[in-house]
């Protein structure tokens, strides 16, 4: 099962190494991991997507992460109302003749063309991994030259 975990950590050197080490050592596969600054200085947020076989396994992962001295808080937000976003940059074949058609795919996904070349364009799309996947599938037939995805970042929704 796919689980999404967030961790706030001290932004000290080697912290990412510690986190990934804990997870890989216990033989869980990391699907994606993304790190960035938070509202607090020297504190980073890590979002990790892992695939595990059972809730027991994810509990082990979060407990082991929690044990790390640089980890301030760990949550498995999969079952909480939460938002997740991933960004992808995709360079796709776009000979002049195809551009209108491409646009008609891009628009419903609220993707944007951020660079235009002679025969290709670069498209940016953001959303859940599912949406990004769907988009990638839709434009794959045009010929993807290059693609970079950020991995997921996310947190829980505000209390209503």
């Amino acid at each position: 099962m796919r689980r999404i975990i967030t961790a706030t950590v001290n932004n000290s050197s080697g912290v990412l190494n510690r986190i990934t080490g804990v997870i890989s050592r216990r033989q869980y596969n990391i699907d994606s991991i993304s790190v960035g600054w938070t509202e607090t200085p020297n504190v980073s947020r890590i979002t990790i997507v892992v695939h595990v076989d059972s809730l027991y396994e994810i509990e082990q992962v979060t407990k082991q992460l929690n044990k790390q001295i640089d980890v301030l808080k760990v949550s498995d937000i999969t079952d909480d109302p939460h938002m997740e976003r991933e960004l992808a940059l995709i360079k796709v074949n776009a000979p002049a003749a195809n551009r209108a058609e491409l646009n008609s795919i891009i628009e419903p996904f609220r993707a944007t063309i951020i660079d235009v070349g002679k025969t290709s364009v670069v498209v940016q799309v953001a959303g859940t991994s599912e949406k990004v996947n769907a988009f990638v599938d839709s434009i794959r037939p045009y010929g993807i030259q290059q693609m970079a995805r950020t991995g997921v970042t996310g947190f829980t929704r505000s209390a209503k």
Partner: protein, 567 residues
Amino acid sequence: MIKVEKQTTTKSGAQLLIDALNAQNVEMIFGYPGGAVLPLYDAFYDCDIPHILTRHEQGAVHAAEGYARVTGKAGVVVVTSGPGATNALTGIADAMSDSIPMVIFTGQVATPGIGKDAFQEADMIGLTIPITKYNYQVRDVKDIPKIIKEAFHIATTGRQGPVVIDLPKDMSLATTDTVNDDTIHLPGYQPTLKPNGMQLEKLMQALATSSKPVILAGAGVNHSRATAELLDFAERYQIPVVNTLLGLGSFPQDHPLFLGMGGMHGSYAANMALTDPDLLINFGSRFDDRMVGAPKEFAKHAVIAHIDIDPAEIGKVLTTKIPIVADIKETLTQLLEMSITDETDKTHWYKLNMTRKERHPFTYNRDSKAEIKPQKVIEIIGEITEGKALVATDVGQHQMWVAQFYPFSHDHQIMTSGGLGTMGFGFPAAIGAQLAYPEQTVVAFVGDGGFQMTNQELAILNDYNINLKTVIINNGSLGMVRQWQEKFHNERYSHSIFQSQPDFVKLAEAYGVKGVRLTDPQTLAADLKEAFAYPGPIVIDCVVSPSELVLPMIPPGKANHQMEGVE
């Protein structure tokens, strides 16, 4: 956070380090010098803390572990960068596996060389992340007091463990007249010591309705010095007690409620009690696979209560109905303040355990006239030392025989590599213990194989006047490997039987240490007594039966009741 600076007189990093060690009341440092730590060693020249120069960095770390294991205080080690630091890795991993408090300073090349494959550079942060509780690299000389204070705090609190401080040479040389605030501020590290009251209630309710309870007492009981409380608790509710290897000493061995050690080479009574209880209370053991070979079969019908200071241990191996994250002593103290109306009759359970214990004790051929039985050596030494010696073992068959036959009587008494299973551990660990307690009898039981991994530390027995009794259980082979080959590999003794052996007596003598060889089973008791009466360090080479097996045994992966070799 605002960095507060404190004024000091101008000091070097090395001097700040020594000040910090003094502030921690460090009693001794184990180490080995080299280029990257020369500034430190220069400072040691005028320092009051004794430094013990071992002959190998692994020896230094194990000796510090021995010191830490018997005193409960952090062991302190200094090694140089690169090869010095990598030589220390085995000991660091060993301390991690057994939750031993340690602070290890590894020298590092000067900051500009880090990451450039400099001479004697090894990435100690990368190498030690998985085998330390935490690690630091000093990047600012002003942080030295703070880092050291934090390191000791982390090493000695919560679930204890080793902390590495990687110290670039330029940081020891740099001078400063101000240092950064050393207040400990670790929001991500707040060990829970007090148990949750509701869970304690649950435990006591479970106990009230249990007719077949059992206690599994692990290293946590020893670490938290909760032996008196454990005894009270077990006696009050008449609960039989099983020890783990590292939990030995936490319960009196001659007590009627004591069933012995459980697990792979544990007693029949202990393993049966772990098979069919209705309530299993685990105080501070991590359900290691040598204890729980087949988790699905272990205490299958029992409610499991697990008390551990490390929340990550609870539920790791077995589903736990009553999880209690806390210090063991604190928990037992609170449990003893509670009372329950015992609703069940436990006499049947008590009798069953007694019968199993009486019928199937650890045993061996005591009457052997042809050869010395290793178990007998241990039994006799148990008598000579009245079960009170500080006992180190190495790893292998002799380790298990010591666990089975030495009458441990108090906490912080056993030094053995339970988690990592490190050959070469026993001898230097015993040295560390003897240095901590020069007046105490310390015994190192070692195999002829493992002794050869760290026997160069014989050199320091005279240097530091270390009155250690070293007992080689010499079976001419890598006994435990030989045993597994006999049982699980069709007696194909691939590379487990030594072609040749050094003369251990001469080896000892070469280092100026007395050596004796014992070969006669008839005079064994008298010979051992004489050897132990020798007023100085002595190596006692006991030539024992080469084919003796450690029994009983649970084959790996089998359930605790599937023991083989039960008499």
